[in-house]
């Protein structure tokens, strides 16, 4: 079949006939015999409907490996960058200081204001971790943005949720923080009954939901478009009258064109990857800032 000839998508998905949304499925790194029996070709054993994977199949997958590799890469990057700093920075130190400066001054100081220093490490780690994971979508060997699996996005959204709530509780105490987050300033008492639940939902529920969904949806959709252009394009390019019914030579032309345009799509994905990492960081800082503020 066509797509296999290109081999552009090695770490994701499985055999060519399953290309599609299945390409987003995680594969175990050390598949158990049960998993192998139930995910092979041809007719599957009847017992597969229930437990067709063990806990190692669920937890040691290619996508979790990606996230761990990204975390290690981020840690190593920052260790290398701050190794023996000099007064006049070299190239290595310059890259690190540029990134650090962007998050410290451009995000943390501008948005959080007073007492921003202690949030810089989290924001910086968050930004670089998301950025590396997003760029995996354009990197050979991986070719898959980790956060197009929604569970990873929920994890980060949860971490940010804990951070901004903890920061607020520490600053104002539990009751004070709760009052800050549910009672908007300057609203007459009768309207408060209607508005306070809204404020509560907005601050505690839709915030983390939109934070996680935004990251996930952007990367999922982006990767899906890449898949359509690359896999669909290569299928059309290599189609022949023998392999598919209703074949016409226009298919090959359209396929070639789609493959060329896929470079444009990759470029857009590069932009989205950086932008989403930045937006997630900015919004986290914004939420911390609003938890810390006296009243809004």
């Amino acid at each position: 079949m066509g797509p296999a000839a290109f081999g552009l998508i090695p770490l994701e998905g499985s055999a060519p006939p399953e290309f599609g949304v299945q390409a987003f499925d995680s594969r175990p790194l050390f598949p158990s015999s049960v998993w192998t029996a139930c995910h092979g070709e041809g007719s599957l054993p009847a017992s597969c409907a229930e437990a067709s994977s063990t806990w190692t199949d669920v937890w040691f997958t290619n996508h979790i490996a990606q996230a761990v590799i990204a975390a290690v890469a981020v840690i190593v990057f920052w260790l290398v960058v701050v190794w023996r700093p000099k007064v006049i920075p070299g190239k290595r130190q310059f890259v690190g200081e540029y990134l650090y400066d962007m998050i410290r001054n451009g995000v943390a100081r501008d948005i959080i204001g007073r007492d921003y220093q202690k949030y810089v490490p989290y924001l910086l780690a968050l930004f670089t971790f998301i950025l590396v994971n997003n760029l995996f979508g354009q990197t050979f060997l991986f070719m898959f943005p980790t956060f197009s699996k929604i569970g990873f996005a929920w994890g980060l959204a949860g971490a940010s949720w804990i951070l901004y709530n903890a920061a607020g509780i520490k600053r104002h105490g539990l009751a004070g923080y709760f009052k800050n987050m549910t009672v908007p300033h300057g609203v007459p008492a009768p309207l408060l009954i209607l508005v306070a639940p809204l404020e509560f939902i907005s601050n505690f529920i839709t915030r983390p939901l939109t934070l996680g969904l935004r990251l996930f949806a952007n990367l999922f959709a982006g990767h899906l478009v890449v898949m359509v252009f690359v896999v669909g394009g290569s299928w059309l390019l290599l189609a022949t009258s023998a392999s598919s019914a209703g074949y016409s030579p226009i298919w090959n032309v359209a396929g070639g064109l789609a493959l060329l345009l896929s470079f444009f799509v990759f470029a857009i994905e590069l932009l989205v990857a950086c932008l989403q990492a930045y937006i997630f960081t900015v919004l986290t800082a914004q939420y911390v800032s609003s938890s810390l503020s006296e009243a809004h």
Partner: protein, 65 residues
């Protein structure tokens, strides 16, 4: 990318209020319809929810500029 006022996230905060209004009061309206067997509470809830959401956005951001 970073803007000097540092209010990149304000749009999302505003959106979050509107969404919360829709979800809460639309949801209450839907529940009411479901239990009472009526059909008019959902649209009313949606309108009220958006109205309150917009009210909160104005309260929060109106005074700034």
């Amino acid at each position: 990318m970073s803007d000097p006022q540092g209010n990149d996230g304000d749009g999302f905060t505003a959106l979050s209020y509107i969404v919360a209004g829709l979800l809460l009061y639309g949801g209450l309206g839907w529940l009411g319809d479901h239990w009472l067997g009526t059909g008019f509470l959902l649209p009313i809830g949606l309108v009220v929810g958006v109205g309150l959401g917009v009210f909160l956005v104005i309260k929060r951001f109106g005074a700034k500029s």
